[in-house]
Symmetry: C2
Subunit: 220 residues, 2 copies
DNA sequence: CGCCATTTGTGATACAGTACACAAATGGGG
DNA sequence: CCCCATTTGTGTACTGTATCACAAATGGCG
C-alpha cells in the first residue's frame, strides 16, 4: 500500500477495500473535529482526500445513514460512529517484538493511545536488550511471551525484528494466540489462514515510486 | 495500503496496481536467489505470496517474456529484469526530514542500500538536534535543504516529523524540487498533482485489523 | 526419437469496484 | 410560506481487475 496486505476475511458483506478506507476517513474527520469544525460534507472530505464524494457516501452507506440531506455530516457524530465500526472506541493492547531502533521508535510513539492502541509489552530475544527501559516499559525476554499474552489477552502484535528472525517470531506469536500481526520485516510471512497480517516496508513504497521517476540515481 | 497511497500517474500503459506488486515479487525473488535457488515458477512464487500464478504471469507479461515454458523463470535473471523495470539497478539518494526516534531508526536502517536506496541527508528544524550524529550522517538545519538537493539531485524524501509540521515540510520539499515523498506523519498531504506521495501509518493498519477482531480491548 | 508432464503467455470471460445521475430531504432567505 | 441551493443515499452503467482455460514451448525419460 502502498505497503501491502493479505489476510483471510470471509464475512465479505462489506468489501475489504471499503474497510481499508474507513481509518483514513476517521483520521481526517478527527483532525476536522479537533480543529473545531462541526459539520462537513462528502464533497469537502473527498476533496481533502482526493477521493470522489460518491465513493465516500457509498462506503458509509454500508453501515448506516450518518448524514443529513442538505447539510452533510456532523463531524463528531461521524467520528464516533466510525470508531464504533472499527472497534476503536476503546484501547487495544498491542505487543511489540523487537527492541532495536525501530522498536524503540514504536514504543516511544505517543500517537497510538488516542487512536485506540497502546503498546503494553516489549520483547526481545537479545540478552543485552532484556531489562532495558523504553518509556515506562521494560524489555522482556521471549520466554515471558506466553504468560504475558494470557494475562493481557493481547490479540495484536508488531514484529520489528530482522527479516531472518521474523518467521520464527510470527510462529511464536501464533502459538500464544495472537490474531493480527503488523510486520515491519521485509518478508512475506507464511501463516495459518485465520491470522491477519499486514506489512510495512518503506522500500516497497520507494520502488513503486521510482518506476515513475526518470532515472537520476547515484551510479551503482 | 495497507497503508495508503495516492499520486498522479498518467502513462497508464501498465496499471498502477500491477506496478505496486512488482516490488513484492522482487523482494521475494531476491530472497530465493540469496538462498541459492536457480529457477522458480509462477506457481511456486504465487503459493509463497498468496497470489494466483496467473496473476503473476499476466503482471510480468506487461513488460516482456521472462520465463521459459516447461521450466519457469531463472531467478537471478528475473531479479535483474525487475530491478531494471523498477529502476533500482542503482542506488537512489534519499533525503530524510525529522531526526526524532523514527528518523533515527530510518537513518540507522541497513536494509535500504542493497535494495536501491541510501539516505544521504538528515534534516531537522530543532536547534538541539542539528549537529547530532546518526550513523555517519550529521543532522543539518532546514536552511541547508535547498543547497543539499541541488548538489545531490535528490528526488525522493521521507517525512518523519510530527503531524503538525508535515504539511509545511512537504511544501518546502516541493519547492526545492523533490518529486516523491514517503510520509510517516498521520495526515493526508495537499500537494500539486505532479508529486507522488505514499503514506505509512501503522494505526491505519491496526484499525483495519480491529474491524475483523472480536472486541477484547482494555476498557477506555 | 517420440511421449508426457510441466509451465509459460494470453485471449476470453467473469467479477469487483468506481462513477454517474437522480429522487428525496433539508434548511435558509425572500 | 414557498422556492432554491445543497447534499445525502442508492440503483444503474461503466470501467478496471482477476480468473479461467488453452495453445505453444520445453526438457526429461523411456
Amino acid at each position: 500500500m502502498t505497503t501491502q496486505k493479505s489476510s483471510a476475511h470471509d464475512k465479505a458483506a462489506v468489501p475489504d477495500i471499503v474497510i481499508g478506507r474507513l481509518p483514513i476517513y476517521l483520521r481526517t474527520l478527527t483532525i476536522f473535529r479537533n480543529s473545531g469544525k462541526d459539520v462537513t460534507s462528502s464533497q469537502e472530505l473527498g476533496e481533502y482526500l482526493g477521493i470522489s464524494s460518491a465513493q465516500i457516501r457509498k462506503d458509509l452507506s454500508h453501515f448506516g445513514e450518518f448524514g443529513k440531506q442538505g447539510t452533510g455530516y456532523n463531524v463528531a457524530y461521524l467520528c464516533k460512529q466510525l470508531e464504533k465500526i472499527l472497534k476503536v472506541d476503546c484501547v487495544w493492547p498491542v505487543l511489540l517484538v523487537g527492541a532495536g531502533h525501530l522498536g524503540h521508535a514504536l514504543a516511544s510513539y505517543e500517537g497510538f493511545e488516542n487512536r485506540g492502541f497502546r503498546i503494553t509489552g516489549v520483547f526481545d530475544s537479545s540478552q543485552e536488550k532484556v531489562g532495558g527501559q523504553i518509556g515506562n516499559l521494560v524489555v522482556q525476554p521471549m520466554d515471558e511471551l506466553n504468560d504475558f499474552v494470557s494475562r493481557q489477552r493481547c490479540q495484536i502484535a508488531i514484529i520489528a525484528v530482522p527479516a531472518e528472525a521474523a518467521q520464527n517470531v510470527a510462529n511464536l506469536l501464533i502459538k500464544v494466540g495472537v490474531k493480527s500481526i503488523l510486520c515491519y520485516a521485509p518478508i512475506t510471512l507464511t501463516l495459518p489462514p485465520h491470522v491477519q497480517v499486514e506489512y510495512i516496508d518503506p522500500v516497497i513504497h520507494f520502488q513503486h515510486m521510482t518506476f515513475y521517476l526518470s532515472k537520476g540515481c547515484i551510479d551503482s
